[in-house]
């Protein structure tokens, strides 16, 4: 990648949210990555944002699923099937 292809801080920053979500086209992902390798400040910002999102994801996903949920759903579906009759 030549110097003229590289993003500056402003161009990289505009793509920060999409970058941490891996939602940029591959060529832009690479250009942001290349900028982060030479810019410690942007790299620290990206690392911070990604850590916040990962930690939050982990906390939000820690939930107890009630036992027998799928069985209760299957029972309701069986009822619906019976109501529909044998030909569906």
């Amino acid at each position: 990648m030549s110097a003229s292809d590289q993003y500056d801080c402003h161009e990289a920053f505009r793509r920060l949210d999409d970058y941490v979500d891996r939602e940029l086209p591959p060529e832009q992902m690479e250009r942001v990555q290349a900028h982060l390798e030479i810019c410690a400040i942007c790299a620290a910002e990206v690392r911070f944002e990604a850590t916040v999102l990962d930690e939050l994801r982990g906390k939000l996903r820690r939930i107890g699923v009630p036992g027998g949920l799928m069985e209760r759903i299957s029972a309701r579906i069986a009822q619906a099937r019976a109501a529909e009759g044998p030909t569906g």
Partner: protein
């Protein structure tokens, strides 16, 4: 056809999968999402059961081999919106206060948490209990909350979220990015209420 076929040979058709064997692997994820959307375990189970029944009744419209999880979540979200319509009106997004970018990053820097060898993002999140994180998401306006919930709970891409909600992908991107900024503001309040900054100044 001989020697000139350009398309790949047709794969042998997989036997069509029945509804319940497609639903079973996604039902726990669906419950988690429903819990974060509704905030109540009983409402979450009602929502998943209702969506499962609707999906079963509409299963003839599902195209075998396509993304069942996205198809089912679309029904789940429709059921959620149908139940919400009976409840309180939401604030308009235009009237909403914007949070600046890098809100937590800036606040933690000001609070002196960016010293070498420290992980300020983790220090903030360590102060936040799971239920407080859920409450922070729940405090977002509904349009942001729904997109953020699908994003955090389900590993959907922006494109998949757009499909589930039937909105353009640009709308998903904008709601998610704006919602995340508001969320950072809410998280900072929770973390400082939990003593983050006071604890740090005691260290100093």
């Amino acid at each position: 056809m001989d020697g000139t076929a350009v398309s790949a040979p047709a794969a042998p058709a997989a036997p069509p999968e029945d509804f319940e064997s497609l639903l079973a692997p996604v039902v726990e994820r669906a419950y988690g999402t429903a819990l974060r959307l509704t905030g109540e375990a009983a409402d979450a189970e009602d929502l998943v059961q209702e969506a499962a029944l609707r999906a079963f009744q509409a299963f003839h419209q599902y195209r075998q081999g396509t993304n069942f999880r996205a198809w089912f979540f679309r029904i789940l979200l429709n059921c959620f919106y149908a139940s919400r319509r009976k409840k309180r009106p939401e604030t308009s997004l235009e009237a909403l206060e914007e949070a600046p970018p890098l809100y937590l990053y800036s606040r933690t820097a000001e609070a002196g948490l960016h010293a070498p060898g420290r992980d300020p993002a983790r220090e903030v999140l360590d102060r936040i209990a799971g239920e407080d994180a859920a409450r922070a998401v729940a405090s977002l306006p509904e349009e942001f909350r729904v997109v953020a919930t699908l994003y955090f709970m389900d590993d959907f891409s922006y494109q998949e979220i757009a499909g589930v909600l039937d909105v353009p992908v640009g709308t998903v991107r904008s709601r998610l990015h704006r919602g995340r900024k508001l969320l950072q503001k809410a998280l900072w309040e929770v973390a400082t209420d939990a003593g983050l900054v006071a604890a740090r100044s005691e260290d100093a």
